[in-house]
């Protein structure tokens, strides 16, 4: 088997290892070290897709990250990934890829009809065409745009790949392993600096892999290999290939995406697919090189038209000819380097040079090889639809305005070189004020804002000699500052051929009577005429022109198109390019998969899971768990075939009649200690705290400064200067920060310390009429009578040898206690309670029963304390002290908070005593009123009252105080329910609170 476009020898691929792959369902083979692009070109495949707007045939334009055309859908190991650049994707056994943007297939594409209707799709076509009539939007325009705009299809399956994040610190981070990156890294490494060298391609060396130069009596490529080999042996150096630094953020934080497995048929076990590195670097060397820019001419998007540097790379790295009858179209010496490579491999190129009489060593070499060179010549238009067949060429006048006679030249590819554009993305992202460098018609980094230095081609330096000198120097001096070591390095001798001045020519004029499309942006089909329209219509700012025409957008972000776009605007506007300015460079430099950005924080790993010490017992006893913040709490304990409703009803009923036990470990706990602890509590809570005796608990409500309820809970005075505060599960962290804020910043004179003890204590709430009897059996030596341990009392006890804290507090409204032991004894405590409780028919209850019990008692919790309510709204105004000041008190005087018809908590019962009211339902006066129906309040919590055996809800209702007895409607459009209801007191059960004191 031979490949039509693979040369016999040469290239850096491994010809010993054949790799088979499929493209558009057809089988091909390539070699280890190929990209999908090089393997396809070797097989003579040049048609790989359709363009975005006009669906014109698309081939390959580049050989790397700048590729605007060859974007494919990749299939690998049962997964699919969109928007993969064929020029970046390494070949692996079994690779499958498909074209995108074409239907029914790449050779016959119905969307190409747009090409003939292109008069309807000019600049701003989204904005103009799809506006009217409005009713067309959903049915016709949107689906059309979606289909047309989709470059690929994202998988809807769960992604089984693993992605990692890594944090790293270094002295010098070096972006790019071309000559400047290698020199900078080597010099810094020799000075003992911690160095990370990142290369986005699989092979290190950058331009040295393809250029014909010598460094210190070796070829550039051999020199690069030697440096990399030495760097790899140094303990202070990390060398990474397949790793793209894509973002430069604040304070010298850079982010790099490492492709760990993309080049393999499947990800190895325990390996990630990609690894995202967050790197904090003291200094950054940007050696990101440059990207060749095209010259604009007619039909310059035809497959077979590509960058001359790409043609050279395919030949030198992959041993692949992009054509056998190449035409090189150049305005500088780089085109000659490509032509010379063709000639050396027995292929005769024709060179069209826009310059009249350039003289240089490179051109001399081309002449000596007998290459056909035409000076002052241009390509007017490419001919051929799915592949270049010939080129219309012509001479051009010295002022570059007049074309000579059109001639037709047979060729099968056109390699274009319009000189080089430094890759300034990272520098610009860092805040560097870029400047325009006239000699190279491009922007280069200017004044640094962060600690970064651009080197070599990225800095507009295009000779190897100067690049190496400046890069060795930069690496050495920057590292010397950090390590205070200075190991001098001999800078090697460089042999390179000198270039002549390039020609500033970038766009071929249209010949008379022809209206060829001349594309600026190949990915988005933005032609010269589109930018002309945008400017004619009044768009001036380059940012507006970009968005109106889509120039420089999509996955390649205009890497090959931006500067020519600026040239065009500057010409029409009669401004110099720097006056037009460039659009903002934003991260990422190249697309990064969402999976890599998310990392390991997916599914169950998106947040930590916290479990109480009794978790295993709950699991063994058929608990069904619910997420409560980051905690897992038993929602109910399933018996037989019970569902949630039946189980929670049984559990709640058992609390009301016998005794139940509930795991309350998750409650936030804060130790408050110090001589001024009472004073702090007195300022933080709305009620009075100065006179709470030792051994007593008190319920408290705390506000934010704006008067809104922040949290509630009980706090117990354990000893003279020691209080045990509890918070809701959800607010535990915020309350601690809140206390620390006031202690550290507002009242530093208070001698108090606070610390979270949530994890130090396991808690069990024992509730129900038989709870005291149970408690007595658990603590036979303690006096737990109503006198010995009255409501809101606190004692310490001995639970079969384990020290326990016993609080007589109640969340369920029943006679109840809470027992705390050190976490390690949590399970011991729990098992004892269950065992001893057997004779009292104890049953564990979950959060669902707990909610039922608290709702029918009218106790407020998270869903009422929703960041919008004040104490009055929750019927907690009795706890608001009139005498003392506290956090947020002044805000309670605001007129809205004191309004007569202020919202307030009420109870809600359906008139039919059957229909449960969905939480979140709105309360309205008239269910038939015209929309928007004025909302009077909302249902905050719903349950099935076990006391009355009918549904019961709590609601926050406008003028709730005067609404008791009123009939309203609860409406839930989401659940499609309209329920006639009656408003009742929120204290539905035991309104006088006698049970807790019994």
């Amino acid at each position: 088997m031979t490949q039509a476009f693979r040369i016999e020898n040469g290239g850096l691929i491994n010809r010993e290892k054949k790799i088979s792959f499929k493209f558009n369902n057809k089988s091909y083979f390539g070699y280890e070290g190929d990209t999908l692009a090089s393997a396809l070109i070797a097989n003579g495949v040049h048609l790989v897709g359709r363009s975005f707007k006009y669906h014109r045939p698309r081939g390959f334009f580049g050989a790397g990250v700048d590729e605007p055309y060859a974007v494919v859908q990749l299939y690998r190991n049962g997964e699919t990934e969109p928007n993969i650049k064929a020029t970046e994707q390494e070949l692996f056994e079994g690779l499958e890829a498909k074209s995108v943007n074409c239907w029914p297939n790449v050779n016959f594409d119905i969307g190409a009809i747009n090409n003939f209707l292109k008069i309807f799709l000019p600049a701003g076509f989204y904005y103009k065409t799809f506006m009217w009539p409005k009713s067309f939007w959903y049915k016709i325009y949107e689906p059309f745009i979606r289909k047309a705009a989709g470059l690929g299809v994202a998988s809807t399956k769960h992604d089984n790949e693993r992605y990692e994040h890594k944090y790293e610190y270094c002295d010098l981070l070096i972006a790019g392993s071309g000559p400047s990156g290698l020199a900078g890294a080597y010099a810094a490494a020799k000075n003992g600096a911690r160095v990370i060298l990142a290369e986005d391609k699989p092979r290190f060396g950058g331009s040295l892999l393809t250029s014909d130069v010598n460094i210190g009596n070796q070829s550039g490529k051999d020199w690069a290999e030697g440096i990399i080999a030495e760097l790899k042996t140094m303990p202070n150096v990390v060398v990474k290939n397949r790793s793209q630094i894509f973002g430069y953020y604040d304070h010298n934080m850079l982010v790099m995406s490492e492709k760990v497995s993309d080049h393999l048929p499947a990800t190895k076990k325990y390996h990630p697919n990609k690894r995202l590195w967050y790197i904090r670097a003291k200094e950054v060397l940007i050696s990101s090189g440059s990207i060749e820019r095209p010259i604009v001419f007619g039909n310059n998007d035809t497959p077979g038209v590509m960058l001359s540097s790409a043609a050279k790379e395919y030949l030198k790295v992959y041993g692949v000819l992009v054509g056998r009858k190449p035409l090189v179209f150049t305005n500088n010496d780089s085109g000659y380097e490509t032509a010379i490579e063709f000639k050396k491999h027995g292929v005769d190129p024709v060179v069209l040079d826009t310059r009249k009489n350039p003289v240089s060593e490179i051109i001399d070499e081309a002449k000596n090889l007998g290459i056909n060179i035409k000076n002052s010549y241009v390509v007017v238009a490419a001919q051929g639809y799915k592949k270049v067949k010939s080129a219309d060429i012509a001479s051009i006048s010295e002022d570059k305005k007049q074309l000579g006679e059109i001639e037709n030249l047979q060729c099968d590819c056109i390699c274009v070189s319009g000189f080089w554009t430094p890759t300034i993305h990272l520098a610009s992202q860092s805040g560097n004020k870029t400047k325009f460098k006239d000699e190279i018609d491009a922007f280069v980094p200017g004044v640094s804002k962060q600690n970064e230095t651009s080197l070599g081609a990225a800095n507009g330096v295009f000779t190897l000699d100067e690049t190496l000198k400046t890069s060795f120097k930069a690496g050495s001096e920057l590292s010397k500052k950090l390590t205070e070591k200075d190991n001098e390095i001999a800078i090697p001798n460089v042999v390179e051929k000198k270039s002549s001045q390039h020609d500033k020519f970038w766009c071929v004029p249209l010949p008379k009577g022809k209206n060829y499309k001349r594309f600026l942006d190949f990915q988005n089909d933005v032609a010269v005429s589109d930018v002309e329209i945008a400017l004619r219509e009044g768009y001036r700012s380059i940012e507006h022109v970009k968005r109106y025409t889509t120039l420089g957008m999509a996955t390649d972000q205009g890497k090959t198109s931006n500067l020519n776009g600026l040239q065009l605007v500057s010409e029409i506007e009669n401004k110099v390019v720097p006056a037009v300015g460039h659009t903002t460079f934003r991260p990422p430099y190249t697309p990064v998969s969402i999976g890599a950005i998310v990392g390991r924080e997916v599914g169950k790993h998106s947040k930590p899971t916290r479990k109480s010490p009794m978790h295993e017992w709950h699991e063994k006893n058929n608990a069904v768990f619910v997420d409560a913040g980051v905690w897992l709490r038993p929602r109910y304990y399933k018996k037989g075939n019970e569902n949630l409703f039946e189980a929670s009803k049984r559990e709640a009923k058992n609390v009301r009649t016998n005794v139940g036990v509930c795991d309350v470990t998750t409650l936030g706990k804060i130790d408050v200690k110090g001589p001024d602890a009472a004073e702090l509590l007195n300022r933080v809570y709305t009620n009075a705290w100065l006179k709470l005796p030792v051994g007593k608990a008190r319920y408290g409500v705390m506000l934010r400064e704006d008067g809104i309820v922040m949290d509630d809970g009980t706090t117990t005075r354990i000893s003279e200067n020691h209080y045990h505060m509890t918070t809701t599960t959800a607010q535990a962290a915020n309350v601690l920060s809140h206390l620390e804020y006031y202690l550290q910043l507002v009242w530093p004179e208070l001698n108090v310390n606070v610390v979270s003890t949530t994890e130090q204590w396991a808690g069990a709430a024992i509730a129900g009429p038989k709870s005291r009897d149970l408690l007595q059996k658990l603590f036979p030596n303690s006096d737990v009578s109503n006198e010995g341990l009255p409501f809101m009392g606190y004692i310490e006890g001995d639970l079969f040898g384990v020290k326990a804290r016993i609080f007589r507090i109640s969340f369920s409204g029943e006679l109840a206690y809470e027992v705390n032991v050190e976490s390690d004894y949590g399970n011991f405590m729990w098992e004892k309670i269950i065992k001893v409780g057997e004779e009292f028919n104890i049953q564990p209850y979950g959060t669902e029963a707990l909610s039922t019990l608290r709702i029918e008692m009218g106790h407020v919790a998270g869903s009422e304390l929703d960041g919008r309510t004040i104490p009055y709204d929750n019927a907690l105004e009795g706890l608001v002290s009139k005498k003392k000041d506290f956090i947020g008190k002044r805000s309670l005087q605001r007129s809205a908070f004191t309004a007569e018809d202020r919202q307030r908590i009420v109870g809600v019962v359906p008139l039919d005593k059957q229909t449960s009211i969905p939480e979140g339902s709105h309360l309205v006066k008239d269910d038939k009123a015209q929309l928007p129906n004025p909302k009077l309040g909302h249902i905050s919590a719903s349950c099935w009252s076990v006391e009355y055996n009918n549904p019961f809800s709590l609601a926050i209702l406008k003028d709730g105080k005067n609404m008791i007895g009123q009939k309203l409607f609860a409406m839930s459009p989401l659940k499609n329910k309209v329920i006639p209801v009656e408003i009742v007191s929120s204290h539905y059960v035991d309104p006088k609170g006698e049970r807790v004191r019994s």
Binding site: Y167, Y249, D250, H251, N252, M253, Y278, R280, G431, K449, R683, E705, D706, A733, S737, E740, Y741, Q744, L745, V746, P748, K884, D885, F886, R890, S891
Partner: protein, 89 residues
């Protein structure tokens, strides 16, 4: 991601901290009459400055201390950091 010099712990990444707003705001004294306007200014009204700004951060995943950070809100440059009780001159 910002790199913040905690006066207690040293240079730490922003994701260890939580933001606490304008550090120049002084809470009115307790038990003191205050006009509606002054109270509103304390609770709600902030300048949202462009440029140098003294702000509060808490090192929540570190020493849990509230600190003051002098930062340029436009460029993110951090000039100085202070302990909670340190005078800012």
């Amino acid at each position: 991601m910002l790199y913040i010099n905690c006066p207690h712990c040293g240079m730490r990444s922003q994701n260890e901290f939580s933001y606490g707003g304008d550090a120049s705001v002084k809470r009115p004294q307790l038990n003191k009459e205050i006009s509606d306007k002054d109270w509103d200014d304390f609770v709600y009204n902030r300048k949202s400055l462009r440029g140098k700004h003294l702000e509060l951060w808490q090192h929540i995943s570190g020493c849990r201390q509230w600190i003051k950070v002098e930062r340029d809100t436009a460029t993110h440059e951090i000039f100085r950091t202070f302990k909670a009780d340190e005078e800012v001159a």
